[in-house]
Symmetry: D2
Subunit: 398 residues, 4 copies
């Protein structure tokens, strides 16, 4: 019998947001079972959450250590026929990501972690060394890399007719922090604007990190230098809530990145445009099933998602439905979980799983640190430290 | 512990389409477990499908009768702590829907059935009588009634400022039967164009039935008379693949319904526009998170889906994510499963569950039969037989 | 010296709407000079209008007869070097169109007439006979046939890869008559709802006539039979303000036409979709520079207007600007004036001018009369009388 | 009799592009007559152009000096009843703009000039001093300030509910210089990439100048500091064809400006987004009749152009047609000509005409020079020199 992968969750108790998204994403394809969790530091909340989710109280743990210990006692945890958790999903605030991930890895448990990977490049470098040793899988939920049309964009941008990539403009704008929501009982806003929990990057860490990974992924090239201008629009804040970055990619392209959570009225406005010598591409996350290609010859093509459409294999593999049946954010997220589970079960090297991993985590943290440093120096050109990790972990860029 | 609802599936073996959609929809919210199935009349296919889904071979049954028998032997099937299936999902071709549903109901097992409900009004009337007796739940997956903005449209259309509804124009156009796909090994096309399996309505049964339910639902009024013109564009077909219907609603509104699967190039083009005395609404399934309201005063408002948006309660209850994180077809479908499961577990009367049920099934079949009769008489005005079912089953229209 | 064509205008005094549009359209390309007019039956209004337009008082006439008489006295009216009006633009209410046009034609003056051509097929047939004799040009401002992407649509729909045309769905919906605007001092509403001035067709005459001509033009085929259901939503009205028509074209295609002015909130919603065996086309007047082609093969192409785009010659000839510089309603209207003026100056046969003429006028009137007759008989199938006019006047359909 | 304004044109001979646009814009409203021109330095071309336009050969002049001399001899040139040109339209390459404008002004002839105003701030400062003395009108065709929804955007952005403006992001991307079109006989490309004719700014002068004026206008605030990164993607070029600018406005807002003509496939992609404390606005030139407002409260409103819409007075004054009848680039351009003509005829102070003038010209040139200086220094923060001109000329910003 094809077995399901057994998953525990760290964080995601009642009142949290992203935990529920991870659970839906993991559940969608019916291949991952949520079997345990340490859903909250408030154990009553943990138990209540577990009850709602149908998790037995004895598998509602106080923390990651207890979870790893408890699950390790179950027979054959590592095997398909065992019952202990094989994977943990980390959906806590950023400051605890690395520690939890490292504990899991050392216990031989695979990890799926919400982004950003941590709060400093140094700690993520430590995690990378741990993963080199444990050989366990580590996935980072850069959700937007789960969308089929993002893979199609990468396919077209890398094709010969597109020509060399010259420009990439990416923006990620939201409006939910236009006012001081953190003072009005919004828990999301509270921890995301608190450097102790969120780390040194505010909007940039929360959403700019997605824009960075998306640009690198579609262009299949690393960002090496940037000039950043970060800002706070609410006086009481200490972290950026808005900013612009100009950057250079290794392939010679240049571009801009806008990251803001004070763009009043904006929902989840992630948009990217990439220009080659002969054509341009435009993708908007809020209309994710269309990818517009405009050719210098004057033709405009709308590439559409769907199992019945003429798309590249990687894009098709990320569609579940025929065209016209819209798939969205949860499906993109579920693609990451599905591919992560498949790679774990098949023993595929993480770098070949199609899921962002520790290499992307390192690049993301290096990007954040370079941006903060540049901004502190008035937008001075600043190099982004290249990630160092072995071939098995080297990530999605070729 | 809050328990999951245990579900079996009839149909949906390898090679089928809609079964996988039902499984994803049922799985999404983590409240329904697929525990058994009779996935195919080919038992090898059934077993292979079960294996892929992680279903034990002893719970892969040969047919509905075997499934009901086998599951009934499990302790406390009807209780939360038992292990037998409490619900069956029916995803077979139309001709077997009623028989399977009736068997399940008589065995005290709840039903979620793909639409249309059957192949004749008479057989669905029989099923309605059965359900009156068994008191079990019956849901019909008119997917589009799971979209939050459809509920928002109904809310606005029923509000005083909108004024009396005058017009409704709905169209559902697809292109996948523009050519004789049924002769090229397309299994979906094969059974849907075969009256023995699909019943007497072709495109009208497959998608026109959705358009009908959507129009009635948003307008909160029953269609009572129609004039239909159905057509076949591929000579070898015996069922309609295209047609137009003009109709009257009980609230005095008139409108048009286009149902076609030969509109080459169209994906899943379900669009509806409703006009009141003072405003109009437009909703397109392919961009489901927006509902456009145009007021006679000149204002144009885009109502957007999202848990953070100013929407009616019923719409909000069908959003999982903040605005800008697109939800689509699977989420709409999952809303039906979630609400069906909730009503079953809470013992809510079916007519209050928010899920289309036997009343909608009856109206849908009466609509199809009236349309076929009208078309046979050159578009003669034809009354639609009103459904007869008790108050507990009377459906979503007030 | 290349001379300008000299034009007079009948109607279009202060307070009118469409007259100003005709003047802008005629002026845009700098080839037509407005030199005189009978702008209003109220001669003070006529003089005031003339003054605003810079027309000398002696060329502000009381009516068409006076204008023709006055202008005929100017030297060499018919020649490029003369000074009398060579063309009259008729922008009065419908009931006077034919008489004015016939007077002009008999005086050797060319005509551009607002649609519909008149208030009965019989009177337009009389005009057709007059034009056969006079050999003067007659243009009918079916504005939408001036849009480049409408010509591109016709080009694609007529091409081999598109396959035989099977379906055409056209709708023209407005909301400005959703309330009884004619009782609130709206002059446009007043005459358009008055059968003495507008003729026997209300919304159908005003905008349904455009939908009819657009469908025939793009499909390059005549509508021969229809079933019409016309309606009045404001009790005090005697003319239709809403309706649906099902129709057959000579090429075997079938379709639907919606014509309504009570669709509250709608602006000027003319949309057409055409389906062939292998592809579909969609054009929306409110976004006129895009034409969407969806192919059965799964490709979606957006054909865009612009002098730099890969379009057919006829479409390119109707673009003034490179792509991305939006052209709209006035430019489409101006294309009709420009082509009419060119044909007049070059002596091109009217049927080759690219401008709708008396053949379209006859078909339009026959369509209106058939629709009214059909509706009066509960939607009975009704043949549309084919136009009878000689080869020089036979119109745009091949 | 209300008289037409008489206009001459400098440049715009056969083979040119923008001259024809100016002529259509001037002609549209029937208030300006083109009576003479110096259409080309090639006098044969000048004569041929004149003939096509219906201009008598004796009013086809060799240059501006000859035109001014020739027209001055006509009786009562300055009066409504005279016949000499009262206004010249300058559509030559940039390097000659200032000299021609100054000659005209000194001759008492008003000017409408294509942008940018010249090739250096110094020469435009000289022109400003001339205009202070002559008191003649000077208009600069920043076309996009003629769109009604741009005025509506300014109205909303300046309203109290919008809150203080925090951000503005504007981009103007085209693709027509993605390849070395200047080497393939494209005259437009040839002069625009030649610093002797275009001045020191390439794409930035051609289109970045529009983006700058649009941002300042909608925000009603001056840009005071910028950081620019300009680039050339074709080796043989000496002028920028691509670049990004980060900037500060006097009102405290910050933003970004993208200006590129190498974005392959882009048509005329001018887009602006402005964010206040409580709402955001988005306007796209390619869909100019819609202005999207997204409020922090969650509401999304589409403000639509049209004489029947609830818009501010300034926006309504720039609409000619009811909503749904698309107006575009030529109509926006014509609004500038119409308002310029009205101001000239009414003796309105230029700064109150609603038409960009010498103040905008000075700011535009100061912007270009600051950007070039900043880019030469690696993006160093650079102040933009404030314009100095008297109150009558001080421009559109309050």
């Amino acid at each position: 019998m094809s077995s399901h992968l057994r998953m525990g969750m760290i964080g995601g108790g009642n009142g949290a947001f992203i935990g529920a998204v991870h659970r839906m994403a993991a559940a969608l394809d019916g291949q991952i079972d949520l079997v345990c969790g340490a859903f909250s530091r408030d154990h009553d909340n943990c138990l209540a959450t577990g009850q709602q989710l149908g998790i037995a109280p004895e598998r509602c743990y106080r923390d990651i250590a207890a979870l790893l210990a408890g699950e390790s006692k179950r027979d054959d945890r590592g095997s398909d026929t065992g019952s202990g958790a094989q994977l943990v999903s980390i959906v806590t605030p950023n400051h605890s990501h690395v520690d939890i991930a490292a504990q899991a890895a050392r216990a031989g448990v695979h990890v799926m972690c919400d982004k950003p990977a941590g709060i400093s490049l140094a700690e993520v470098e430590g995690l990378a060394r741990t993963l080199e040793q444990t050989g366990t899988h580590y996935g980072l939920t850069h959700t937007y890399l789960g969308y089929p049309m993002v893979w199609q964009a990468r396919h077209i941008a890398g094709s010969k007719p597109f020509g060399a990539i010259r420009k990439v403009h990416v923006q990620y704008v939201q409006g939910w922090l236009a006012n001081a929501a953190e003072k009005d009982g919004n828990k999301q806003a509270a921890w995301r604007t608190d450097p102790a929990l969120a780390g040194p990057a505010g909007a940039l860490g929360d959403i700019g990190s997605h824009a960075h990974s998306l640009a690198e992924f579609i262009c299949n090239s690393r960002m090496h230098t940037l000039r950043a201008h970060l800002r706070r629009h609410i006086n009481s804040r200490t972290l950026d809530d808005d900013g612009e970055i100009l950057f250079d990619l290794e392939n010679g392209a240049t571009g801009s990145l806008i990251s803001s959570q004070i763009c009043a009225g904006e929902e989840n406005g992630l948009t990217i445009r990439i220009y080659g010598e002969n054509a341009g591409l435009e993708w908007k996350q809020m209309e994710p099933n269309s990818l517009i290609e405009r050719r210098a010859s004057g033709e405009v093509i709308v590439h559409r998602a769907g199992t019945d459409k003429p798309l590249c294999d990687a894009a098709l593999a990320r569609c579940r439905l025929p065209s016209g049946h819209p798939e969205g954010f949860i499906e993109a997220f579920a693609n990451l979980y599905r591919d992560h589970a498949r790679a774990i079960q098949a023993g595929t090297a993480p770098a070949r799983s199609g899921v962002p991993g520790i290499a992307e985590a390192l690049r993301g943290m290096a990007f954040l640190e370079a941006a903060i440093a540049s901004s502190a120096q008035g937008g001075a050109p600043t190099a982004i430290k290249p990630p160092a990790c072995g071939p098995d972990l080297k990530g999605l860029l070729s």
